[in-house]
């Protein structure tokens, strides 16, 4: 019962926000165009948040995702530029995209290995790589962005009336949800997050699964990075600055606990959309991007506080002795 209520809360808040904004700006907010735009804008951070869900359920955290977004994008764009921007073929773009995705996965693998073989706490390890990856992204092209003017499909393309980025987001969501619920990696993620020692004693290969989880978020960040590059037709070394905050907030608002063992893909989607609609609403209401920080901050604190309250109440009423 408690679990159901806990998922209802973020969903309820999402519905509430949509209703309030619809009432305040019916002409600009409540349009198909606007909704599609919000979905499209949610795709990049949303895809990373899907990966972050696994990480947080495993009682870990990845602060380097913003930097990975930048680095993967820069490398992907660099490959495309090296292969001949002047006369771009489809092959160039495909290769560049794959390169970006692989770099993301490799960065994630690096995080995973640091955490498992050196036994570094995820917070510390990814705090370090956050700086490292960002540094490489900046140094690569002396702080300058890399332009890829024809690379528009992922960011702006439409397939069957739906933006390609949204299709990719949906596909990633479906696959991730399947893995989390129906496959061992998902199940072991919950077990490791709930009680790492117990999982180990039950034969779970904790280190291997953790490496998989961090590589997974890296891979997804690589995909998100290439969509981002496509959207702005350039790779920015400053991309994703501060992204980790929105992404982690989305997962926590969606019901995941930072102490591990809890969380769902559905919850993360709701959390992602909540933040997206909030930002969208702020823009339509004329609230500056700076002030948006205040709004988002308040929402995050409220969401976590309410969740803690609900959790505490559930604990005292459910217990049987």
């Amino acid at each position: 019962m408690g679990k159901f209520v806990r998922q209802l809360l973020p969903f309820g808040s999402l519905v509430l926000i949509i209703c309030i904004l619809s009432a305040l700006r019916p002409d600009t907010f409540l349009t198909a165009d606007n909704f599609l735009n919000v979905l499209r804008r949610s795709s990049v951070y949303g895809i990373v948040a899907i990966g972050m869900t696994f990480v947080i359920i495993s009682a870990g955290i990845d602060l380097s995702v913003g930097s990975m977004l930048a680095l993967a994008g820069m490398v992907g764009a660099a490959v495309m530029a090296a292969m001949g921007q002047a006369n771009p073929q489809a092959g160039t773009f495909v290769t560049g995209t794959i390169a970006g995705v692989i770099i993301g996965a490799l960065c994630g693998l690096g995080n995973g290995l640091l955490i498992t073989t050196l036994n570094l706490q995820p917070f510390i390890a990814t705090l370090g790589t956050m700086s490292l990856f960002r540094g490489i992204a900046l140094v690569m092209n002396r702080g300058q962005p890399i332009n890829v003017s024809e690379y528009t499909y992922l960011g702006e393309g439409i397939l069957l009336d739906v933006p390609v980025s949204v299709i990719i987001f949906a596909a990633v969501t479906a696959v991730a949800a399947f893995i989390l619920r129906y496959m061992k990696l998902g199940r072991y993620t919950y077990a490791i997050g709930s009680n790492r020692e117990a999982a180990f004693h039950a034969g779970v290969n904790v280190k291997f699964n953790l490496v998989c989880i961090y590589t997974l978020i890296g891979l997804l960040t690589g995909i998100a990075a290439m969509i981002q590059v496509s959207r702005t037709v350039s790779a920015q070394p400053t991309a994703g600055l501060g992204a980790e905050l929105d992404i982690i907030a989305a997962v926590v608002i969606g019901g995941a606990s930072l102490s591990g063992g809890q969380g769902t893909i559905t919850g993360t989607i709701i959390g992602t959309l909540l933040i997206s609609f909030l930002r969208n609403g702020c823009t339509l209401l004329g609230i500056s991007t700076d002030a948006q920080f205040i709004v988002i901050g308040i929402i995050i604190v409220l969401a976590v506080a309410v969740d803690q309250l609900a959790r505490a109440r559930a604990k005292t009423s459910e217990k049987i002795v």
Partner: protein, 507 residues
């Protein structure tokens, strides 16, 4: 009647009177009209099977839960606790089974946690006063403990002394101890008894919850027995003996406490030779045949759990060969061990056994997803069915297989873990203190289960600190002392004294 008993006859006001307490959690009526009277200067035992309501009653006393009905009177004054702090102020101190101390702080800091004497400057704490006061209280009761020792480095027995000092520092008049001896060595148990008697002689009341009925007989002045949330007996310990208490607890005779077994042991299923793991255990060797239950006795710290951990691949072996059914096996991790058909039910189910926030069914299948045909894809529907079946088989009391694990009582949680290993269909099963912290009825179920497993041809290693159960259940007993194996006895030809002697006495 004890001396303190005659003293308290003069007083008309009891230290504690709980009357008509009822409490319901959802569909479960945990307590119905329970009354408890504890007089000053007595040790009052509270017994009952798991789920009988002992913990709930004490948590109501400690202000953790609010009762649906009933009253609490302390020293004649009606009290109603909204928060645990209020109970503490009223003089009620709880010492839980898993002690509640801050591992990185010293004894003195723990004793005065939340209650620190103020220093000269504002917002400071007078550390010297803390240490001195701790030493003073300890001395007045004759406890020997270093106030400056860091709790994380203390033995369990000393940690308990720290908890008791904490209660005394708060001027507790009622101290509740929940299963205090479950992790103590024999020597530490003796020491605890002395402490409890001292507390009683100084006029405090000690409410003592324990499954160890021999202890109750030796220590308590009065006893209250709960069954299914009701009081079935309350009064002086006087004429009561263990069978009588058990009868009240379970409502029926428990004859043949240790179920009979008639199993012909087969070939050697497990052969361990020359097993060593660093300095912890050295040169351990033994054999277990199919259908045999071999016990492992020894004092706390003798290395019994370390043997299990080395076999199961948790600790690194520095030497040793393990053979199963005649073939040597290489085990570097628990996953290897499980794949080779070894199971290990650990002694600390909260820390190394259960994933508390997850569902019961998930906990049951965790080690055996491959075995139930879920190597690639997990089917939640079938998983629940499997869990339901094995839950019924083991008589697990739960709301359903999807319920979270923390809604189960200790005994049922233990059964859950047994279910996990049954699912793996292991051929060699290691049980480390499987009956710790579970009630009499559930214990017998565990013994019956062990017999059944032996009948199925499994080899069982049964590690335990309770000599009676080792003598009642096993075919042979291995004795560990200081990391070495010092005895390999045939159960039918040995005695508690002989086992204890081997375990404790250096020669």
């Amino acid at each position: 009647m004890t001396e303190s008993g005659t003293q308290t006859d003069e007083q008309t006001v009891s230290a504690l009177v709980m009357k008509g307490i009822s409490k319901r959690f959802g569909p479960v009526q945990a307590l119905s009209d329970v009354s408890l009277t504890v007089r000053r200067g007595t040790v009052h035992a509270l017994v009952g099977e798991n789920g009988a309501g002992k913990s709930t009653l004490m948590k109501i006393l400690a202000g953790v839960y609010r009762p649906d009905a009933g009253t609490i009177e302390i020293e004649g004054l009606r009290r109603s606790f909204e928060r645990p702090e209020q109970a503490l102020e009223a003089g009620v101190s709880m010492i839980y089974q898993d002690l509640d101390l801050a591992q990185h702080l010293t004894v003195a800091e723990n004793v005065f946690l939340g209650n620190e004497p103020k220093g000269k400057l504002p917002f400071t704490v007078d550390s010297r006063a803390m240490a001195e006061n701790t030493a003073r209280i300890a001395a007045s009761f004759g406890f020997d403990i270093d106030p400056m020792a860091v709790v994380g480095e203390l033995a369990t027995g000393d940690c308990q002394v720290a908890e008791i000092l904490k209660a005394l520092a708060r001027k507790a008049s009622i101290i509740v101890m929940d299963e205090p001896t479950s992790s103590l060595s024999e020597k530490e148990v003796e020491r605890l008894f002395t402490i409890v008697r001292q507390l009683r002689d100084k006029g405090l009341c000690v409410i003592y919850i324990s499954h160890r009925l021999e202890e109750i007989i030796g220590l308590a002045d009065e006893v209250t027995v709960l069954r299914d949330g009701r009081v079935v007996h309350s009064g002086g310990i006087g004429q009561l003996n263990i069978p009588a208490i058990v009868r009240y607890m379970v409502g029926r005779e428990l004859t043949d406490f240790f179920p009979a077994r008639d199993v012909k042991a087969g070939d050697a299923a497990v052969k361990v030779s020359n097993l060593s793991s660093g300095k912890r255990i050295r040169d351990i060797g033994f054999e277990i045949r199919r259908g045999e239950i071999v016990g492992m006795a020894g004092l706390v710290g003798a290395g019994r759990t370390e043997v299990a951990r080395a076999i199961f691949g948790i600790d690194k072996k520095t030497s040793g060969v393990i053979s199963l059914d005649g073939r040597e096996v290489s085990i570097e991790s628990p996953a290897d061990a499980i794949a080779n058909g070894i199971a290990f039910l650990t002694e600390d189910r909260r820390r190394t056994g259960l994933c508390i926030g997850l569902a019961c069914s998930w906990n049951i299948t965790l080690a055996g997803l491959d075995r139930i045909g879920m190597r690639r894809i997990i089917s939640p529907a079938r998983e629940n069915k499997v869990a339901e079946e094995i839950g019924t088989q083991l008589l697990i009391k739960w709301v359903g297989p999807e319920a979270p694990v923390d809604s189960l009582s200790g005994g049922n949680q233990q059964k859950l873990l047994i279910a996990r290993w049954l699912l793996c269909q292991s051929r060699f099963m290691i049980f480390d203190e499987p009956t710790r912290g579970i009630d009499v009825g559930a214990k017998k179920e565990v013994y019956t289960l062990l017999n059944k497993l032996a009948e199925q041809g499994k080899a069982i290693l049964f590690i335990s600190s309770e000599l009676p159960e080792l003598l009642g259940v096993t075919d042979r007993i291995l004795v560990m002392r200081r990391g070495r194996m010092v005895g390999n006895l045939k159960t039918s030809e040995t005695t508690q004294e002989e086992v204890m002697h081997l375990a404790a006495v250096e020669n």
